[in-house]
Symmetry: C2
């Protein structure tokens, strides 16, 4: 019975894709079977894993055309890590005026089907709180919010919390699902005074909901993505890798007690 986690933040460029790919890879390298579902029409997670995006074999086909996950999933160069690639058709979903609850539930069920042997499913979401992110939140047990510790972080967090409350009430299901697994400070630049100030401001409101680990800004991160190799495989000892390994440990510890 997989634990599924949505990586979510409508603010752009805060490290959603980096977190989805790196966390999935760290969990896989720790021996856990992982599936990364790319729900962003731009397919950055797909590219970052060295896979081809586009074409007709992706998350859209599973969601909307009910093609079995097992048929469309790809293995990756990392053992235990599979990918359900994105393609540009996902944009059609984002662009609907409404998403009927019945359709939404069908799409979620399609996403979750055939994952019995998977231990973790991670959803990489686009920079919006549109239908794709909402589907991810309905399908997921939990969500993680990467933030950049800049001037827009607190604002974005507030919008997310409001949206989650609305979603939980509307879904009529378990009021605690999806649960906030944690807020993750990413690409943290110690040389920017502002980063620490925003970090403290976020702590004031969200202290116990923040992961202990902070991911440092690290030149190796975009290099790995350019090579299409997940960070922990590309450079097992980089500062960012060590931090993502710690994040995986925090996630696993939580599952151990859950």
């Amino acid at each position: 019975m997989p634990r599924s986690i949505a990586i979510l933040n409508q603010k752009g460029g805060v490290g959603k894709t980096t977190t989805a790919v790196s966390l999935a890879a760290c969990l896989a390298l720790a021996g856990r079977k992982c599936l990364l579902v790319d729900l962003d029409p731009q397919g950055n997670a797909t590219t970052a894993l060295g896979a081809r995006k586009g074409g007709s074999a992706g998350s859209y086909e599973v969601l909307v055309h009910s093609r079995p996950v097992r048929e469309l999933v790809q293995s990756t160069a990392t053992p235990n890590l599979e990918l359900l690639a994105a393609d540009a058709s996902l944009q059609e979903l984002e662009r609907r005026a409404t998403l009927e609850p019945a359709d939404r539930d069908t799409y979620c069920a399609n996403l979750q089907d055939g994952n019995a042997s998977i231990e973790f499913v991670l959803f990489d979401c686009p920079p919006s709180l549109g239908w794709l992110s909402i589907i991810a939140l309905h399908a997921a047990d939990a969500f993680v919010v990467p933030i950049q510790c800049d001037s827009f972080s607190l604002d974005a967090l507030e919008s997310i919390m409001l949206s989650i409350n609305t979603l939980r009430e509307a879904s009529g299901g378990d009021r605690n699902r999806p649960s906030l697994r944690g807020i993750l400070c990413t690409m943290f630049d110690e040389s920017f005074n502002l980063s620490s100030r925003v970090y403290q401001d976020v702590r004031k409101q969200y202290a116990e909901r923040m992961f202990r680990v902070v991911i440092p800004r690290d030149p190796v991160v975009p290099e790995a993505a350019l090579r299409g190799i997940p960070l922990p495989s590309y450079d097992p000892t980089s500062r960012a890798t060590v931090a993502y390994v710690r994040l995986a440990r925090e996630v696993l510890l939580h599952e151990g007690t859950a």
Copy 2:
């Protein structure tokens, strides 16, 4: 007759808002009347100018409910710089299944109405190639693409160029409109080897379409946004300010010859 420029890139966090606000402020400080139109439901440009977003007085009201620009525009602390604020209702536009050409043309006309005394209109677009960006591209004479010189930049540029061709053919209007004013490398980090490599790769394909200036990564940038003060007012001599002043000069030079 204003020159209108859309600041566009579906990739998140590449400096669209920073460029829209900083360029508008630099042009305003150079004596040109500028209007910044915030088309992002997240309203970051509005916040970065120290204004309140949300409420019922914003770009959505102008676009969709035909309220006059002059009624809803706000002055800012910078002389010559006005703001048409964003509000969350903009999300409704993004979420339509289709955008009828007739509606699109009405919205564009609404945006352009009442700007006779304005010399530059800048549109801050959200991280998507959805209806909001498309409206901006139809309303604008030109567009600027900020990029982050990372692993996803070339991919995003390719998608933008394809979309622009589709848009120009479909609009049936001037085939050269909107014209690409330039690709702008932002938040450039010289300490990341990858940045220069990607810069060179972008040059190979887009050399003459790149602005000469490169905006350096600079701790002052997010500080100014946090204080709600545009960069050139917040710190007139910072490296990023000097670069955005150069960008304004390149833009003005182009208008001089246009």
